[in-house]
């Protein structure tokens, strides 16, 4: 360190530093990434992985929707009812509270009463406990299989055919162990919908 060094103006240095990085990190970097991903053919993902039908957007493959008609596979419990205008995030209720017990009990009974399942069938926890985001597009294979008899009854499709369909929309863990095994209900139900329209079951 030399004795004759000029004193640093910290205000100037800090101001320039902050303004430059505001422009570079706040705008240059996100803009650069957006341009690159659209340039290298990742526009589908970059725009939200939207699924269209006859030119109309009907879903994003990643965002859960409330398929509630009995001939669809139903998604998980959502704290906001899959209405994105209500924001996102999980349920408020602690899992050891009376309120949570009551809510879960009611929905479990509803799933059993509507499920056309044999006596003593257990409902998979995945089907009655709320998701973390309220927009979980997926369910476990167990919950999908639980719903088979109801969906089969209302869709007039046979169970083994529906099982194959579920299988087709099942994702397995990467390399055999990274992630869970799950069924995307959004893409599954859209496929099911097209089959039902084709069969004339629904219009």
């Amino acid at each position: 360190m030399s004795e004759r060094e000029k004193p640093v103006s910290h205000v100037r240095a800090a101001l320039v530093l902050v303004v430059l990085f505001f422009a570079l990190l706040g705008f240059g970097y996100p803009g650069f990434v957006a341009v690159v991903v659209h340039g290298i053919g990742l526009g589908y993902q970059a725009d939200g992985s939207l699924i269209t039908q006859n030119g109309t957007v009907i879903a994003s493959q990643f965002i859960g929707e409330n398929f509630s008609s009995p001939y669809y596979f139903w998604p998980r419990v959502s704290a906001v009812g899959y209405n994105s205008s209500n924001g996102s995030g999980g349920s408020a209720l602690g899992i050891m509270t009376q309120q949570f017990y009551n809510q879960t009990k009611n929905y479990t009974e509803y799933l059993i009463s509507t499920g056309r399942v044999s006596n003593g069938t257990l409902v998979p926890a995945n089907g009655v406990e709320p998701s973390g985001s309220s927009f979980d597009p997926d369910i476990t294979v167990g919950f999908a299989l639980f719903q088979l008899s109801r969906v089969a009854y209302y869709s007039h499709l046979n169970v083994s055919y529906l099982k194959q369909l579920v299988d087709r929309y099942t994702t397995h863990p990467y390399l055999g162990f990274i992630g869970s095994t799950y069924v995307n209900v959004v893409t599954l139900d859209i496929a099911l919908h097209r089959i039902l329209v084709g069969n004339g079951t629904i219009s």
């Binding site: 990190l25 939200g48 994003s60 929707e65 409330n66 996102s88 209720l93 998979p124």
Partner: protein, 562 residues
């Protein structure tokens, strides 16, 4: 837990250690000023920036000047971000027409991201413009992370140097961004988009759904925010649901990249430290201690999340895999739980679960991580905490066995001890005082949650704010308590961030002008297994003494009382 889940945990831990090691050594070399092939490309850019700033990068600062530069820079970052939020309704890039947040929430949000906390009391997809998500949030995610990292580097230099200097703040800050944070973030963001994250400036799109009429699909420049969110242990998401939201975490591969990157700088800086003090054994000892603390916390939470919820035991529910509540199906329960503990032990605070629905035992474990703040803690600040723990442990073990309290050859002076004790005491005070104040003033009664959960949520909120973590319970803020909680929390975040940094730099200042003693046989050894065990126990006992009573009132009674 099944075998696959054990494999997931083992894989994550091993990859985190390997990546941290290499990143840490790389960062150590950068801060030592070693030559690298990047000099050719980045050198001219950095020199250009130094020219604009009007600084000489070779100028070495003492701790006061380093602190001054740090504080002025942080003040300007805060002002600029506050202005961005405050005027967002008049600024461009607002396709969804987000309105004003309100001044109190603007202030809370700015302090939250300036302090690397990232507690969010807004719903990003509804309430922030893209201009704010980038100009306020993404910008502060980089600069607050860089701020944390450079003070840790300055502290390391304080331990090594003998001439009273700690390096040049502006140079350290600049190269942290140009050589670490920005390049890694760009690569990660591209991979994230490939895996399914949006990166667009178009507004929300209305989907005409097959069953429910219509659904608004919110999107935006998500991937560029997410990569620095994890790399810089920030944790505040683009969407309200944060990392649980499918667009922030579309599949397990994205989740693994996120988790590995949020752990790699906190653990990596410990390796940088070993590299810079030329004592890798010291670093291995600290990594062993921090990783052990983390694994203990993880084991508790994994146990709690993979058992059947006893409250639901009488219902006809198949709970064989554990607690699905608050978790996303595309991740295993073990992975989601790992994310919760990693996010609270690294001070990232963006777990891919909904906190309200975690088992009270997992919440207790998360609180413990935020109370320790050094296992491994946030970027930079975690290492700083850890070094203060080491100094205290050296002193106490010295008293116990009658050895000179010295650390890496430098005598620990009265001044350093005083600073260290104050440093440690700030944390409990800024958690417990506002907690007591909120309960006694009656503002806690407005929290619309069951009583025990409300207390836990409030304790969690202030702990998260003080530790600059950022995870928090939902449904805490109501119209009656919002100003009180938002403002008190803002001050907790500011004190929790800046007071330890000021004291840490002061300790670095004292150490940097301390001459090392001649190696004596009586000096305490700080890199052997005995010291590691002592440090491990010391950190647990210290935190238990400070926090066990409130843990018993909150999550522990929630677990036992069911």
């Amino acid at each position: 837990m099944d075998l696959v889940e054990y494999a997931q945990i083992l894989f994550l831990v091993v990859v985190i250690l390997v990546v941290s090691y290499y990143l840490g050594i790389y960062m150590g070399r950068i801060y030592l000023g070693k030559r690298s092939f990047l000099d050719k490309y980045l050198g001219p850019l950095e020199n250009f920036l130094y020219g604009l700033m009007g600084i000489n990068p070779r100028h070495e600062m003492d701790w006061r000047e380093y602190l001054k530069a740090f504080l002025i820079t942080n003040a300007m970052m805060g002002l600029l971000a506050f202005g961005t939020l405050f005027f967002q309704q008049f600024l461009p890039l607002n396709p969804n027409h987000a309105g004003a947040l309100g001044t109190v929430l603007d202030f809370n949000t700015m302090t939250s991201f300036l302090t690397n906390t990232d507690i969010q009391h807004y719903t990003g997809e509804l309430q922030l413009s893209y201009f704010s998500q980038m100009g306020a949030i993404t910008f502060l995610m980089f600069t607050s992370a860089a701020s944390g990292i450079v003070v840790a580097v300055a502290m390391i230099r304080g331990i090594v140097n003998q001439n009273g200097t700690l390096g040049n703040f502006y140079k350290d800050f600049t190269i942290t961004i140009t050589r670490v944070l920005l390049p890694i973030s760009i690569i990660e963001a591209l991979v994230f988009v490939f895996l399914g994250m949006p990166q667009t400036f178009q507004g929300a799109v209305v989907a005409h759904t097959l069953n429910m009429g219509s659904q608004v699909i919110y999107r935006g420049p998500v991937a560029s925010l997410e990569s620095i969110k994890f790399l810089g242990t920030n944790g505040g998401g683009f969407f309200g649901a944060d990392s649980a939201y499918p667009f922030e975490n579309p599949n397990a591969l994205a989740a693994y990249i996120e988790m590995i990157s949020e752990a790699s700088i906190p653990f990596g800086l410990i390796f940088s430290y070993g590299h810079m003090i030329r004592n890798p054994k010291q670093a291995r000892m600290l990594v062993a201690v921090t990783m052990s603390l983390f694994l203990v916390g993880l084991a508790i939470a994994l146990y709690a999340e993979t058992i059947a919820n006893p409250t639901l035991a009488s219902l006809p529910i198949n709970q064989s895999v554990g607690n699905w509540a608050g978790k996303e199906t595309r991740f295993s329960i073990a992975e989601s739980t790992f994310s919760l503990i990693l996010n609270t032990y690294t001070m990232t605070g963006g777990p891919m679960v909904a906190l309200n629905q975690m088992s009270p035992l997992s919440i207790a474990s998360s609180l413990f991580g935020m109370e320790v703040q050094g296992s491994p803690g946030g970027v930079g600040t975690g290492l700083m905490n850890l070094l203060v723990y080491v100094i205290l442990a050296v002193f106490i073990s010295g008293l116990m066995v009658g050895r000179t309290p010295e650390f890496l050859g430098k005598k620990i002076s009265t001044g350093v001890m005083k600073y260290s004790v104050v440093y440690i005491l700030i944390h409990p005070v800024i958690i417990l005082a506002p907690l007591a104040l909120t309960v006694m003033s009656g503002f806690s009664s407005f929290i619309p949650l069951p009583p025990n959960e409300a207390f836990t949520a409030l304790l969690y909120e202030f702990t998260s704010a003080a530790a600059n973590n950022g995870s928090s319970f939902g449904y805490l803020i109501t119209a009656q308590n919002s100003n009180f909680i938002l403002l008190s929390e803002s001050f907790v975040m500011l004190i929790g961030r800046f007071a330890p940094i000021v004291i840490g730099l002061a300790i670095a200042g004292v150490l940097s002008s301390t001459k090392p003693l001649a190696q004596t046989k009586s000096a305490a050894v700080t890199d052997d297994p005995i010291f590691a065990v002592f440090l491990f126990a010391f950190i647990i006992v210290l935190s238990a003494l400070l926090f066990l009573p409130v843990l018993a009132l909150g999550p522990l009674s929630g677990f036992l009382g069911g």
